[in-house]
């Protein structure tokens, strides 16, 4: 079946512009996660959605970052007034509520010039 998909695969933007990154989770997966992978670093947790509960936003690095999940499915991560340090690969993952395994998308490589 279809896996987690993310778009765009690559995004180059100028410093100060806003960007939106999209994640389509696996159908039926109630949990959705966003992570950031910076060069030479591990995965940094950003935000977590579980069903209709309020999201866990504890990993968002600043108020320029926000995310929403519409209809319990598609999620959008928005970065406002991008900075060069925002350059990274942004990964989305989803899982079934009863499962431990997270399934990752291919990521969006964001470059801020």
């Amino acid at each position: 079946g279809a896996g987690v998909s993310q778009s765009p695969s690559n995004k180059v933007t100028e410093k100060g512009k806003d960007v939106e990154l999209r994640c389509d989770p696996i159908s039926g997966h109630t949990a959705l996660y966003w992570y950031r992978q910076s060069l030479g670093q591990g995965l940094e947790f950003l935000i977590y959605f579980q069903g209709n509960s309020a999201p866990d936003k504890s990993g968002l690095p600043s108020d320029r970052f926000s995310a929403e999940r519409t209809g319990g499915s598609v999620s959008t991560l928005t970065i406002q007034r991008t900075q060069q340090e925002d350059s990274a690969v942004y990964l989305c993952a989803s899982k079934q509520e009863s499962s431990y395994e997270q399934y990752f998308g291919p990521g969006t490589r964001l470059t801020v010039t």
Binding site: G42, L43, F45, Q50, D56, L91, Y100, F104, P106, G107
Partner: protein, 115 residues
């Protein structure tokens, strides 16, 4: 804070030789531990997990991991490495908060298998 550590940035091994990628953990309570692999320009793929039971866990692509409570380790192993195993490997631990669970990842270890 609950965390995992991967002490090696890179591991080099010749094809056909056994490989070990190290991971140690620091958690309160019983740890739920995971290994993921990331091939170039791809997302992470699940390899295996330890929840409870046998200390030796078998996973995808011939990999296995050994849970050692006394040494707080969860090293990834494979008896005979393949060139195609070259990738970035991440160890992770499940962290529980009220109503939420998330994975905390190590910094990753790059495995290079030479022909």
């Amino acid at each position: 804070a609950q965390s995992v550590a991967q002490p090696e940035d890179q591991v080099n091994v010749a094809e056909g030789n056994p490989l070990t990628v190290k991971c140690t953990y620091s958690v309160s309570g019983n740890p739920y531990l995971f290994w993921y692999v990331q091939y170039p320009n791809r997302g992470l793929q699940f390899l295996l997990k330890y929840i409870t039971g046998d200390n030796l866990v078998k996973g995808s692509y011939g990999f296995e991991a050994e849970f050692n409570k006394s040494q707080t380790s969860f090293h990834l192993k494979k008896p005979s490495a393949l060139v195609s195993d070259s990738a970035l490997y991440f160890c992770a631990v499940r962290v529980l908060k009220t109503g939420f669970q998330k994975l905390v990842f190590g910094t990753g270890t790059r495995l290079l298998v030479s022909p």
